[in-house]
Structure formats: structure tokens, C-alpha cells
């Protein structure tokens, strides 16, 4: 399924390298997240280790963001690069919009704001939806 999706999305060498890296980072994220959850639950009483295990799961995600930037500089297909940037902008727009709402909720309503991971999820969902729309548009407009 993943291979099929990767093949359908794009065939440029830069995109393939990027997709491979993302899968590796996601596997690393899953492993690190499981380890962090276990250690925090069983051995997370010391303050240093609490901070350590809180920060560690973010590293693979930051890796994906950095890799995304590298992909954009490596991609030689200008149309695919533009589409990727559009999708990222949709994701960032949704993220910033949610962030502003969150800030005002905290500032004026003294509300708790969004819970943990909600903002990044908003970015990921908006970015994914934009890519899905692009994929469907590329499909419908294809004449071959």
C-alpha cells in the first residue's frame, strides 16, 4: 500500500529519497515514542529524565521538517516543488490560524487552549488534505 502510494505520488529521485527518509523518521518516532511512554510511566520521577524523555520524541519530527526543507532544495521538478510548497502553505496557514485562536482564547477567555499535539495535528491534517486535493486534481485533469 505504502509502495503504491509512494509510486503514485511522484517518481522523481528527490521525492523518492524524501519519502524513504520520512518513513525511516516515522519508524524512529514510533520506537522513541513507545520508549518515552514506558520510561515516563515506569522511571520518570527524576526531573532531568522527565525533560529528556519529553524532548526526545520531538527529534524525529524535527528531522522530518528539516528533511522537507532539503527535499524542496533538491527537487528539480518545478511543478512538483510548487505543489509541495502550496501544500505546506495550506498546512502553515491552518497552523497559524489555530495558533492565533488559541492565543486569544488563553489571553481573553483565560481558557486552557488546545491540548498537547493538537496544533501539529492541525498542520499535518491540513497539509495532507491539500496534497490529497492536488493528487485528485492531477488525476481528474489527466487525459492519459
Amino acid at each position: 500500500m505504502l509502495r503504491w502510494w509512494m509510486g503514485r505520488c511522484s517518481a522523481t529521485p528527490a521525492a523518492k529519497r524524501y519519502q524513504r527518509s520520512v518513513v525511516q523518521f516515522l519508524v524512529a518516532y514510533a520506537v522513541v515514542l513507545l520508549c518515552a511512554s514506558w520510561f515516563v510511566k515506569h522511571d520518570g520521577h527524576e526531573r532531568f529524565f522527565l525533560y529528556f524523555w519529553s524532548v526526545i520524541p520531538a527529534v524525529p519530527i524535527i528531522g522530518i521538517i528539516v528533511r522537507m526543507g532539503r527535499y524542496l532544495s533538491e527537487e528539480t521538478d518545478e511543478f512538483l516543488k510548487l505543489q509541495k510548497m502550496h501544500a505546506l502553505l495550506v498546512g502553515l496557514g491552518a497552523l497559524l490560524g489555530a495558533l492565533v485562536v488559541d492565543d486569544f482564547l488563553r489571553a481573553f477567555a483565560h481558557a486552557q487552549g488546545f491540548g498537547p499535539f493538537v496544533l501539529f495535528t492541525i498542520f499535518a491534517v491540513a497539509n495532507g488534505l491539500a496534497q490529497l486535493v492536488q493528487y485528485l486534481m492531477n488525476r481528474t485533469q489527466s487525459d492519459e
Partner: protein, 63 residues
């Protein structure tokens, strides 16, 4: 911008995939240019013109 890419490709009996390979771009790019959803950069337009042996203005026209 209008272009004659689809006609020129059809005249030669080329598929989008074949043209994409010649231009070293993805098939999605060729499709987007043909359907007018994307206007290529100047370097890519020159590459297209060179491949078809025509001046750029014979392939791309202002709407």
C-alpha cells in the same frame, strides 16, 4: 497562457510519459502544462521549444 503542447505531442505520437522523460520532468508537470494549470519557467519553456525545434512563441501564446 495558452500552449500547443498537447497538439505538438499528439502530432508526434508521443505519450505524456515519453515527453516528460525527454524534458526530465514528471508526467504530472507535462499534464499540468498541457491543461493550462501551470505555466512553465523560462528554462523549461526553452527546453520544450528546443525539443520541438520551434521558437517559444510558436508554442506558448498569451491568452
Amino acid at each position: 497562457m495558452n500552449n500547443r503542447l498537447k497538439d505538438l505531442r499528439a502530432e508526434r505520437g508521443w505519450s505524456q510519459a515519453f515527453l516528460a522523460e525527454k524534458l526530465e520532468v514528471s508526467r504530472q508537470s507535462v499534464n499540468a502544462i498541457e491543461t493550462g494549470r501551470y505555466d512553465p519557467s523560462l528554462p523549461l519553456a526553452f527546453k520544450i521549444a528546443k525539443l520541438f525545434g520551434m521558437p517559444i512563441e510558436a508554442i506558448f501564446r498569451e491568452e
